[in-house]
């Protein structure tokens, strides 16, 4: 169980952030919270739609214990507020006056329609950073589109280059578009907060999932301009110069992924020689120069030789286990990695040694949840899960009290369905 002492607000990121975003966009506020910002997660009195996202804990009653919620909303305070009521909007405006940034992922135009859009907020608080995270941006012809991860990822070009060539394009099955936009939103928000502190000018920050996805295929986008060709999905193969090099190899108990470069290929020959016979001809190949030569001469002798060696390695690896191959990669410095399942990852001795996993007790769920720890190890300001994800409205009293709203007023608001 981790300590629940919140970090020192005065050090890393001393900001107060209002988080009205949903789904994977919650990552932005989570990262801010990890770094010591006071993040207030605002959800409707009936609960956020993110709470309906699976997976759920095994003892979840239907969908009341969302691991998705827990993962991306820890290190946040939680209040409930109905933006459909005038009283609720007034409370939001009071909070905005006292905050440094607001994060939201409503459909473009929604906040304006309630009179709580950027134009209104910036007048109340000229230093405010207002970050919108949307599928296609706040403006432009696609701004009004409805979307999901599959749709935004597709429009961002990622599935087109992923998957087997004889099958439809495929996405990463754990939705990524919202998450990459969430982490881009973090960098943008912190940059804008820095600017706001220096210049006293707040601003609107417009982060889009589609652009964030496009960034993740930067190695593909230079091709049309430079070669007049598109990168196509190639399954277990990957372009090496202009030949297709296999990167996914079957092994005895799964698959491994290999980078076809000279050092690794030579390393495999050494390993094969230790355990089996290797064709004399293969031993005579000039592997050291392939990295460059194959690039310029795709049909030449080198490419043919390359394919032959690849077949020998394929055959050799088919009898090895993932662990054996990984051990060899470690000792010989080969660029090959097992295609791990989440189970393999959970059992990694490296992650264990670096204390990657953290058990946090979630009072709302009445149980511990094993969280992924911080992937940023900062020597002076270590990041932790300081407190678990909030239950609906669990911090109403504390936050509303700070706004000078009395307990009896809160009760009235509760009855009216505002909080």
């Amino acid at each position: 169980m981790e300590s629940l002492n919140p970090p020192n607000q005065d050090t890393l990121l001393p900001y107060t952030i209002l988080d009205l975003s949903e789904g994977g966009h919650n990552l932005c506020g989570r990262l801010l919270g990890d770094m010591g910002a006071k993040v207030i997660r605002i959800e409707p009195p009936g609960g956020s739609q993110t709470r309906l996202r699976g997976p759920f804990t095994p003892d979840s009653n239907g969908n009341d214990k969302s691991l998705y919620w827990a993962a991306y909303n820890s290190n946040k305070k939680g209040i409930s507020l109905s933006l459909d009521t005038e009283a609720g909007r007034q409370i939001l405006l009071s909070l905005v006056e006292q905050s440094d940034a607001i994060l939201e992922s409503f459909q473009p135009g929604y906040m304006d329609s309630l009179n709580i859009g950027f134009g209104t907020l910036i007048k109340l608080n000229p230093k405010l950073v207002h970050t919108s995270i949307t599928p296609f941006g706040s403006t432009g012809p696609y701004a009004g589109f409805v979307s999901t991860d599959l749709v935004t990822s597709s429009m961002g070009g990622m599935p087109f280059v992923s998957g087997d060539p004889d099958r439809p394009p495929v996405r990463i099955s754990f939705p990524q578009a919202e998450l990459v936009a969430g982490s881009q939103a973090f960098a943008a928000t912190v940059s804008a907060l820095r600017h706001s502190r220096n210049s006293k000018n707040g601003q609107h920050v417009d982060v889009t999932e589609q652009i964030s996805v496009i960034w993740t295929l930067m190695n593909a986008t230079p091709f049309p301009k430079l070669h007049g060709t598109d990168v196509k999905r190639a399954g277990a193969f990957r372009k090496k110069g202009s030949i297709d090099a296999r990167h996914v190899f079957k092994c005895a108990d799964g698959h491994v992924s290999m980078m076809s470069q000279a050092k690794t290929l030579n390393g495999f020959i050494v390993w094969m020689l230790e355990e089996t016979e290797v064709d004399e001809e293969i031993l005579s190949f000039d592997i050291d120069n392939w990295d460059i030569k194959i690039d310029s001469d795709p049909d030449g002798k080198d490419a043919t030789e390359f394919t032959r060696l690849e077949a020998a390695i394929e055959n050799f690896l088919s009898k090895k286990t993932k662990t054996e191959i990984f051990e060899r990669a470690l000792s010989a410095g080969l660029l090959v990695a097992p295609c791990n399942t989440v189970e393999d990852i959970r059992q990694s001795p490296q992650l264990e040694a670096r204390s990657f996993w953290i058990d946090v007790y979630h009072p709302e769920f009445g149980r511990d949840i094993t969280h992924l720890g911080s992937y940023l190890k900062m020597s002076e300001t270590p990041l932790k899960v300081y407190f678990p994800s909030p239950a609906v409205g669990s911090d109403n009293e504390e936050i509303f009290k700070s706004l000078g709203i009395s307990k009896s007023k809160i009760d009235t608001l509760k009855k009216q369905g505002v909080v």
Binding site: F145, S173, T221, F356
Partner: protein
């Protein structure tokens, strides 16, 4: 001089390949002075691999290199000589941040690990991005984006069941979480140093950082003991949910129906309102059960139609739909992308380069946006203007061979 939010920050960037340099790109574009410390004897591979113009033998024209190193300076230095190393240390002494993404102990072999850097500059912020982290039993294991996709479990959940876990077609971790997370940590550490006067060491294991993108797929195992499979494009709680073949070669449209209203709208949009009243499609659960049959029916409707027309039709009916765009589409016909996010950049060795713009737009400042540096382009500037070395001494340095 533009008033840029990250000016007055100097970064000595030992990063190479992709993830390291991409982490400092945003700093360079927003005003920081980012100095790439490179070598001509061991050229950063990303300068020569991947898409590049035909027939030009140069370390300066590769597409990815130019994309990820905008607005930076380049100096070449032989760190395996005492003189080269002392120049590097001189530069570190007047820098705020030192970054690298080498594996294991490369920096300490040069005497540039955090302990040593702190002696050179007590409040230095040092970022290391080795694949497996700076400690633990696997710290010396190296790899690149392809290996991380596999090791961190992305390929395990991507693709089709009973088929090889092929992962993503792009070097996903290199361009997504890893550089973003590194930039985030640097921004926070700089803020902390400004307030407290203390620097620190940031150890970002690219492996761990990529696992974080799997989020609750991992929690599904830690909490529920379930190992997620590769489900193709299927979603546990949406149907129809897939990419459907359209008119033309390798053209597809993604359609994702997430609730009953969208389902009803969808059936109207494609002229099959009778589907909405069929009991086997009446709820999400039912549609999931008959998903295969439903996907076939939808495919036969989509396959004779234009992907963009399908998208527009469905979006007009409030149904999530989008074309599976290829990179040419992105560059030529996607208005939301091309207008603001693709920049034509003049380059001394080729006609022009198409570069990704800055993703982050800050409304009242412009980011500066210069092309990536030629190899060693700023040797004179760094030595003369930044380190204040006399011209004649710079000539001596050239002669000594340390600037390579």
């Amino acid at each position: 001089m533009l008033n840029l939010p990250l000016s007055n920050i100097r970064i000595a960037d030992f990063g190479w390949m992709i993830a390291g340099p991409l982490a400092t790109r945003v700093f360079a574009n927003f005003g920081a002075q980012v100095i790439r410390i490179e070598s001509t004897s061991r050229i950063d591979e990303i300068r020569v691999v991947g898409a590049k113009p035909d027939g030009i033998d140069s370390p300066n024209v590769a597409g990815v290199f130019n994309d990820i190193n905008t607005s930076k300076l380049s100096m070449t230095l032989d760190l395996n000589t005492e003189l080269g190393l002392s120049l590097a240390k001189h530069l570190i002494e007047i820098s705020d941040v030192v970054t690298n993404n080498f594996r294991g102990d490369r920096m300490s072999k040069w005497g540039l690990d955090y302990g040593q850097l702190k002696k050179i500059k007590p409040d230095i912020i040092a970022l290391s991005m080795p694949m497996m982290g700076s400690d633990g039993p696997h710290q010396h294991y190296g790899g690149n984006g392809i290996n991380i996709i596999a090791g961190a479990g992305i390929s395990g959940i991507t693709g089709y069941p009973h088929r090889a876990p092929v992962g993503t077609g792009s070097l996903y971790p290199d361009f997504s979480g890893n550089p973003n997370h590194a930039a985030i940590a640097l921004l926070a550490a700089i803020r902390y140093r400004n307030r407290t006067g203390k620097g620190q060491f940031i150890d970002l294991a690219q492996y761990e950082s990529t696992i974080s993108l799997l989020g609750t797929s991992v929690l599904e195992y830690t909490a529920n003991n379930k190992i997620p499979d590769r489900p193709g494009n299927k979603s546990p709680n949406m149907a129809p949910h897939s990419v459907y073949p359209c008119k033309g070669t390798d053209r597809w449209c993604a359609i994702a129906v997430s609730n009953e209203q969208e389902w009803s709208n969808f059936t109207k949009a494609i002229g099959k309102p009778e589907w909405a009243s069929q009991s086997k499609y009446s709820t999400m659960e039912q549609r999931k059960k008959h998903e295969e049959e439903l996907d076939k029916k939808i495919s036969s409707w989509t396959s004779s139609r234009d992907a963009y027309k399908i998208m527009d039709l469905l979006q007009n009916h409030g149904v999530p739909a989008g074309v599976v765009q290829d990179t040419k589409d992105l560059l030529t016909r996607d208005p939301s992308y091309t207008k603001t996010h693709v920049v034509d950049m003049a380059h001394p060795e080729v006609d022009s380069m198409k570069i990704h713009g800055e993703t982050i737009s800050i409304s009242d400042v412009e980011s500066k946006f210069d092309r990536a540096p030629l190899l060693g382009e700023h040797n004179d500037f760094v030595l003369g203007e930044i380190l204040g070395i006399d011209e004649s001494k710079i000539d001596d340095l050239y002669v000594s061979g340390v600037l390579r």
